[in-house]
Symmetry: C2
């Protein structure tokens, strides 16, 4: 694709540097931007530098925030005795959307993945161990991806935390609610058989 303007080409390269966006899609997006007014494009551009300059990480949990302690950590009605360990802030948003968790979080910033060159030292693990040693903490929930990398990270964290006098749990695995059994994959189905629950009415 030979774009007849180096400025458009540059914009296309920038947009297609985002994950999952190819050159063709990028060109479509860039041409749509081109049709906007100068002010609208300025607002668009400024959004990213403003974000970089102003967004902070919560000193406690690593969640993003506009202040130094995030709204979840500073909320007095949240249960500070339970810490839910997640990979990144999208997982916090997903769990918050369920409205069924009232504890606080700890953002690892990734999971152990030797293939991507991410080892334990690249993650916020030591700060999790520090937090877990506080007397107020009673339980830690591992809420990482149900992948091999997630399981590896769970095991690594478990070894770091097992000597402490706190309960450690992880999200239950099983057949999705609403799913038909015949379409569940074999590993999920066998796991949900192994972890069967007492029937409650």
């Amino acid at each position: 694709m030979k774009i007849p303007s180096k400025y458009i080409e540059n914009a296309v390269n920038q947009i297609s540097s985002l994950p999952g966006i190819g050159k063709r899609t990028a060109l479509r997006l860039v041409l749509q931007l081109m049709s906007r007014s100068r002010e609208e494009i300025e607002d668009f551009s400024n959004a990213f530098t403003l974000m970089k300059d102003n967004v902070k990480k919560c000193n406690t949990c690593g969640n993003v925030s506009d202040v130094h302690v995030c709204t979840i950590c500073s909320n007095t009605s949240r249960d500070k005795s339970i810490i839910c360990v997640v990979e990144d802030i999208r997982d916090i948003l997903a769990i918050e959307a369920t409205e069924s968790y009232k504890g606080i979080y700890h953002v690892l910033g990734g999971i152990i993945s030797p293939m991507d060159g991410i080892g334990p030292n690249d993650l916020n693990i030591s700060s999790l161990v520090d937090r877990a040693q506080q007397e107020s903490v009673k339980e830690i929930i591992f809420a990482l991806s149900a992948t091999m990398e997630g399981d590896t990270t769970n095991f690594f964290l478990y070894r770091k935390l097992r000597s402490l006098n706190i309960s450690i749990s992880s999200l239950s695995r099983g057949v999705s609610v609403g799913a038909e059994l015949q379409y569940a994959d074999e590993i999920t189905l066998s796991r949900s058989l192994l972890n069967r629950q007492p029937f409650e009415v």
Copy 2:
């Protein structure tokens, strides 16, 4: 989705204002941007304002360009007697990629689409009629989408141009090269039967 930072929320809103990008995808892209350095984000942001400030429209054909006459119009080896009418510059890129067209172009800037409130006056039609009246022009090719809007625009242009002494053609419609006949849709198949070509060896 309640994002815990108004700066991130603003960036997500800007990215999801692009066509075909939802909030969830936008958040993924924004978090990826967040992980970049200040300089990289500045380069990203500046690309769009630089583009808006510097990209020009070719005075002749309406193609985008860094100068006032685009590289195709200023290329002396192109055949100035054939003008190919396209909807937007992406179509120019697609036709140029075939390397089988040596004429010049005319960018309409859209097609007639009453549903989207686009009428003939919103398109670069009068400049096309002016160009077609130049003595050097021998043929005009309609290369618009094979949709009802494209056909409507073709017909409108045809009525504007038919009194001039030039040949008017449009792209052939038919079964795609490489397609299996049983999967071709009925309208395409019946059109390719009607427009059957003398067999050449």
